[in-house]
């Protein structure tokens, strides 16, 4: 064998050199190198803004008719076709402009963060999905354009009405963060709640239970037939709040949720929270939750549910599109507001969480800010909105546009649930104000542990209160309040 160990002369051996440089290189790459590489631009001026076009009746935002437009869409549960269709309308409205540059991705943050940082963001972004950019940080760092001109522009269908007046209630407020400017336009309108198959309930000869006693009785009945009552996205337990938060509001009134959102001291110690936690914990304790659920992700749990192994799942209205592949034809998908606890509840049955989804933003440093807003104006028109609803079975922020299209079962039940809820729609804001607190701390480390049976409700409450207190005291987290 030849000498493998380099040179006897004591110098730095070839292998040592390779080892050391390999060590350095390997650390650099994943850990720090790529991060700082993207800060390199410093205050990169970005591309110059395009000049504003002439404001006319047909062009109320003053879009430059020859400027390029770049749109980035989150390619998730809703796909991208609806956006492509709306971009065609933009092309038709501004024939002199180059074709709209369209890109769909699931990696919103990894693709766009460097561009924000370098000052060259695209003109319109659907900032959604697991890699959503933190909106609080974007607003705090003045990276977003104020969409007020868009809201005050006439709607594309009716020059007599402002865009703002065509939107569903709550959409404008959701786009604000302390103060008048509107930074975000939520395009989809999501109904959250307890989703089930009406066929499955029929087979059990049951109605959707309106009180918790009825819920437990139904779960017991299902259990005897080998069907679990509930399943949920065990690996993403922040789906549980979709039915748990309105349940809390129903028991204790909407002020409970507002004080939670406001990070008030002891907000989680309200008796309504404890009561709701105990009710859910009982599902676990009595074996009404599908076995193995804490190890399932959202798709796996939805599949178990569409296959009829569990009756109920907390989810949002995107589930109809997302689970379409495994959902049997006669599933008769239905959403219901959460069951209440008992007759002493403060809010009536029907209290529902519904709010904007798919947040669209126009970056402040975009080259064609007016173009980005105009594209949104087109999307908020009746025709595009209807197209979205037809394609992806979800409502949009545009109030209406569901007449005359054959509504799918889930969508129809969503509309009915909204009608039934009337004024009793709640809109907890933790998930857009404090992403980490909601998803990782309350969701995974609190609710997830409790529903896996590893924390009692009392322990879960005090743990979650601890997380909320820490967030409230953390100066690096920007705070928001309900007004």
């Amino acid at each position: 064998m030849g000498s493998t160990s380099g040179h006897p002369n004591g110098g730095l051996g070839r292998r040592d050199l390779i080892k050391r440089s390999a060590a350095l290189g390997l650390v650099t790459l994943p850990a720090t190198g790529f991060l700082s590489a993207c800060a390199g631009g410093g205050g990169g001026a970005g591309g110059p803004k395009v000049e504003k076009g002439e404001v006319t009746k047909a062009n109320p935002l003053g879009v430059n008719e020859t400027a390029a437009l770049e749109v980035v869409i989150f390619d998730g549960g809703f796909g991208q076709q609806y956006a492509i269709d709306a971009e065609k309308k933009y092309n038709a409205a501004f024939p002199e402009a180059p074709e709209v540059t369209h890109r769909a991705t699931q990696k919103i943050q990894s693709e766009l963060q460097p561009r924000f940082n370098g000052g060259t963001p695209p003109d319109l972004i659907d900032n959604s999905g697991a890699e959503q950019m933190d909106m609080g940080v974007l607003v705090g760092k003045k990276q977003l354009a104020d969409l007020t001109p868009l809201l005050d522009a006439p709607s594309i269908d009716d020059p007599g009405r402002k865009v703002r007046d065509t939107l569903r209630p709550g959409i404008v407020e959701m786009g604000q963060f302390d103060g008048a400017p509107v930074w975000i336009l939520y395009y989809a309108y999501t109904v959250y709640g307890v989703w089930y198959s009406r066929t499955a309930l029929d087979r059990l000869d049951a109605q959707y239970p309106e009180t918790w006693d009825e819920m437990l009785a139904l779960c017991e009945k299902a259990k005897r037939q080998g069907i679990a009552g509930w399943t949920y996205a065990g690996k993403h337990p922040y789906y549980l709040p979709f039915s748990l938060y309105p349940f809390i509001a129903k028991i204790g009134g909407r002020e409970v949720l507002e004080s939670i959102d406001n990070l008030e001291p002891n907000a989680w110690k309200h008796p309504a929270v404890k009561a709701a936690f105990e009710a859910y914990y009982e599902l676990q304790r009595k074996g009404y939750v599908l076995r193995g659920t804490p190890g399932l992700d959202h798709i796996q749990s939805q599949t178990a549910w569409t296959k009829g192994r569990a009756l109920f799942i907390p989810n949002g209205s995107w589930v109809e599109n997302e689970a379409a592949g495994t959902m049997p034809k006669d599933f008769d998908l239905t959403v219901s507001a959460p069951s209440g606890l008992d007759a002493s509840d403060r809010m009536p049955f029907g209290t529902l969480w519904a709010s904007g989804g798919e947040p669209f933003i126009v970056p402040a440093k975009a080259r064609n800010v007016e173009g980005g807003m105009e594209q949104l104006r087109i999307m908020l028109g009746e025709e595009s909105s209807r197209n979205f609803t037809r394609q992806v079975k979800s409502l949009t922020a545009f109030d209406g546009g569901t007449d005359g299209i054959g509504l799918t079962p889930g969508l129809r039940s969503g509309v009915a649930a909204l009608e039934r809820a009337g004024e009793n729609v709640v809109n907890p804001r933790l998930q857009d104000w404090y992403v980490k607190l909601q998803k990782e701390q309350i969701g995974v480390a609190g609710l997830g542990e409790m529903m896996a049976g590893r924390l009692t409700p009392t322990e879960a409450v005090s743990r979650i209160q601890g997380f909320a207190d820490r967030a409230a005291q953390d100066p690096s987290v920007r705070k928001y309040k309900h007004r």
Partner: protein, 307 residues
């Protein structure tokens, strides 16, 4: 002709050194600088905040948890992987029964094993992680289904959903996917150990175990040491990130049971909009990695062996 020699050497060194400084040294300097700022990563404006990020790091429970997990990875994974790989490589190359014509040979079918062990190496770690994620599915995954099939329906662990098991599940995947590389590496090392050593040992009546500990292991020492450092860095860096990010709850859970430093860097930078804090964690990771490499190098120091 001595004059101009240094200029000549410097001329050759300038370009590579410049590249090295630009692409290796400079990012380090930058990262360390950013760890003293409040940069968000979403905007180019930031200001210097001194040691704030380090103070925050000190009080951050999640940081300490992920540090503990990363250290566990760095210490345990090399032991497991290299131990297994050594065993496999020895069996493939010299562990077989003596056969006619060859004093030293591997077990029957060794060339097949070599390919089989190396096979996971061909798959990207992301695919491996996805495959095992399905296997670990407690409801319909291969492992629990297998348990049911052999009549162990009562034993249905949650695997990745159980904070006591999740970390070990992740480690097992990493061992599975990297052991093949080291089998090949050590096979190459063993192939270059002179055959007469083994023949002599055989004539002296040494068994397999003695041969391994008296001949193979000492002569492979350098290779093992390199492998050790390599595996440790892999365990601290990219590979552990990929499996934890793809496979586990949250990710990093349940209940922070699998968070590792690299994942925490990623989450701080790309979820929480706290890029400066992420570089601070990155600096901590750098220190850990360098310390690991230094310790292994120091422990492995000894007289050079010539043969």
């Amino acid at each position: 002709m001595q004059h101009g020699k240094y200029r000549f050497i410097a001329g050759f060194l300038a370009a590579p050194l410049g590249l090295y400084a630009l692409f290796v040294v400079w990012p380090f300097v930058q990262s360390i600088y950013y760890s003293f700022t409040d940069w968000t990563g979403l905007s180019p404006d930031f200001s210097v905040v001194g040691l704030d990020n380090y103070a925050r790091l000190w009080d951050d429970d999640v940081f300490w948890t992920s540090l503990r997990h990363s250290l566990l990875f760095a210490l345990l994974l090399p032991v497991l992987t290299i131990g297994l790989a050594l065993f496999f490589a020895f069996m493939i190359n010299v562990g077989g029964r003596p056969r006619r014509g060859a004093a030293v040979s591997g077990v029957r079918g060794s060339s097949f094993y070599k390919v089989a062990y190396f096979f996971p190496q061909v798959l990207s770690i992301a695919i491996v992680a996805l495959l095992f994620q399905f296997a670990y599915n407690p409801e319909s995954g291969a492992i629990n289904s297998g348990l049911r099939a052999i009549g162990l329906g009562g034993v249905q662990p949650l695997w990745l959903g159980d904070p006591d098991l999740a970390l070990w599940c992740v480690m097992a995947v990493l061992v599975w996917s990297t052991v093949g590389f080291f089998v090949v590496l050590f096979s190459a090392g063993m192939a270059s150990i002179p055959r007469d050593f083994y023949e002599a040992a055989l004539l002296d009546g040494a068994g397999r175990i003695t041969t391994f500990f008296r001949i193979t292991l000492p002569l492979l020492r350098d290779t093992i040491q390199s492998g050790w450092v390599y595996m440790g860095i892999l365990a601290l860096g990219a590979e552990s990130f990929a499996v934890v990010q793809i496979m586990t709850t949250g990710p990093g859970g349940p209940d922070y049971s699998t968070t590792v430093l690299v994942l925490y860097v990623y989450q701080s930078a790309f979820r929480d909009g706290a890029a400066a804090y992420a570089t601070t964690i990155g600096v901590a990771l750098l220190v850990v990695t360098l310390a690991f490499a230094a310790v292994v190098m120091r422990l492995g120091r000894r007289e050079r062996l010539e043969y």
